[in-house]
Each structure stands twice: as C-alpha cells, then as structure tokens.
Symmetry: C2
Subunit: 199 residues, 2 copies
C-alpha cells in the first residue's frame, strides 16, 4: 500500500522522502498518515527492487537530500499493485489510495474496481441492516445510533460510487458516438438502497 502510494506520487515528479510525506498528508491525510519510520525503509526497499532510483543533482554541495525518481520497472510494479485484487477488499483506506491514482487505469479497470467496491459496500450494508433488525431490541442506544449512522454513511458512499460509475460509462460510450443508455442490472436484494438515477 505504501509502495503504491510512493510510486504513484513519484510518477508525477521526482521527490525526496520529506516531500513525499507532505504530499501524502495533503492528498490522503484524512485516511492515511505515514511515519518516517515506514517511509524511509520503504524507499530503500523500492530502490533495492530497482523500482526507483536516486538522482544526484549536479549541485551536490548543500544539505543531503535523497531525491528519488521512478524507473520503468517501477512503472510496471505500480500498474501491478494498482490493479491487484486481493488487498482492496479488507480495509477502507486501501480503496481511497487506489482511487487517488485512478487516472492511471484504463476505463474498464476503473469501472471494474468501482463495481467491486460497490458490491463490497452493498454487502456490508445488508449485513448491518440485518444486524440492526435482528438485535434492535436487545441493544443499547449508543450502539444502535452507531449502526444507523454507519448505515447512512454507507448509503452515501454507494450513491457516490453510482455517480462515478455512471460518469465512467458515459465517458466510455461517447467515443463510439451517441448510444442508447443501457439500464444497469440491479442486484436487487429486498430493501437495498436504490441507485440514484439522476443526481
């Protein structure tokens, strides 16, 4: 995950560790805080794997700054990590990190990941809903409030994903000229949050 983020940022431009941490905190600070204790070892690891290389600026007089640049091999590693299916399911932050680098994916891959994420959230939503209904009597107010809040937040996330999926599909269709908008097959469990058609 850290490797993915580092390589993704280095694709923009070469940077040293300190800068990487700031950029990381800027963009993903909400869900992702990295410490130097993991960042610097990760850079060394990537360097050993030849996914990044150090640049020695001509004016090597001043303070020591290890500026890293992504290599061709690093590009390949990045692409591989970004599409990898195993990890994105477990933790929430993982999806966000991936999403921040979505522009490097092909449209189909984007839609695939969005759909997978949607399915995951839908499953979680259904589980939560079922738990609330099953336990609603024997549960304290705080836990119930937490679960309902979580339920609402998940619904918002799903609607956000729907909008993104729609946008991707529009974009994928435009190049081929104006086509009929196909209705999406809704995996319709009873009571699931409806996809927002216009929003």
């Amino acid at each position: 995950m850290l490797e993915l983020a580092i390589l993704g940022l280095l694709k923009e431009r070469a940077m040293h560790g300190y800068q990487l941490k700031k950029r990381l905190a800027d963009t993903l600070g909400g869900f992702w805080q990295v410490s130097y204790g993991s960042l610097y070892p990760a850079l060394k690891r990537l360097q050993r794997e030849e996914a990044v290389e150090m640049i020695f600026p001509k004016e090597q007089v001043g303070r020591r700054k290890n500026v890293y640049r992504i290599t061709e091999k690093g590009d390949a590693v990045f692409a591989d990590l970004l599409e990898r299916v195993g990890h994105e399911a477990t933790q929430d932050g993982n999806f966000s990190v991936r999403f921040a680098f979505f522009r490097y994916l092909k449209p189909e891959a984007r839609i695939r990941l969005l759909e997978r994420r949607r399915a995951l959230l839908e499953g979680r939503w259904a589980d939560l809903k079922e738990s609330v209904q099953r336990l609603k009597e024997g549960i304290d107010g705080y836990t119930l409030s937490l679960m309902n809040h979580e339920l609402a937040a998940t619904e918002t996330d799903i609607r956000w994903l729907d909008d993104l999926i729609q946008a991707e599909q529009r974009q994928a269709q435009e190049p081929a000229g104006p086509r009929r908008t196909r209705a999406r097959r809704l995996p319709e469990a009873p009571g699931l949050p409806q996809r927002s058609v216009s929003r």
Copy 2:
C-alpha cells in the same frame, strides 16, 4: 483495542471465543473484523493477566468450549482502556469501538470523548478544505472528487456528534430540573461547518 472489545462484550455475559467473534462481527463488523489468529491469543493474554477466567460448566462431557467470564480486575482494566486518551486519536475504528461501549462511561466522560472526537474531525475537515483550495487547480478529477466526498462525509460525522453531544447535555441537565440551555461556544474558524441547532 481487541482487549477492550473482548472485555466489553464479556461484561454482557460469559462467552467462548467463537461466540465472541460472531458478536464482534455483528455489532462492529463494518469497521472491525477480527480473525481467530488474534482473538484466541488475546483471550489467553487476558487470562494470564487475570482479567478473565474460564468457567468449567458442570456438564463437561461434550465438545470442548472455553467459556470465559470477566473478573473484577478485568472490569478495572476495561474501564481504564475505555477512557484512555492516547489511542483514540489515530484511527477511526478506535472511536467506533469505544462508542459501542459508551453506556459504561459516566456522562462527563462521554461528553469529553465526544468533544475530543469532534475537535479531531474539525481539524481534519479544515486541513482537507485547505488542501482542496490550495491544490484545486493542479489536481486530477478523481482525487478532487475523493477529497470532496471525504469532506462531505466528515461534515455528516460532525453533525452526528453534535446531536449526540446535545442529547448528553440535555440528559445531564434534566436531573437538576429544567434549566436554561446554554449556547455552546463555537470554535469558529472561518467556513467551518456550523453545528446543526435543530435536527
């Protein structure tokens, strides 16, 4: 964290590991998935610390089931973990787990934790807002969408906390008879999400 969750659930009733995992998945499954590989060692650890003890049911004929019960020492450990200040700041799930056991806290402690959580989210919100404004031009659409979505989600969380704080304060005041509702001092940075007064 795991220790906290285990002790909290055992306060309700004695359980064995398998049951604990199911209860955990039920209530906190959305943000918290534990594997047996961490659950069983944690139970042993708690047993060594004498925070829990095993019950040997009279009918010890059938399948082996290690039913654990919380001890007095365990109650103390639980209370300590629940109020601890260090950990709740870093990760999001930590607050949720704590919140699920809010009923075991004194009202003042509840308000204190809610306020602290609010301050944390407010800080994160402000940081994100600032990042969006600063980088808005040089950033790709996906990252921007992610940040705006995160911003909105944080606002929702803050409003939820506001409602909870208000409810706690009402409850804290009622026993002393009907009193004037004091307006809360708003830590007013420019553009911060307003507290919802009625909702």
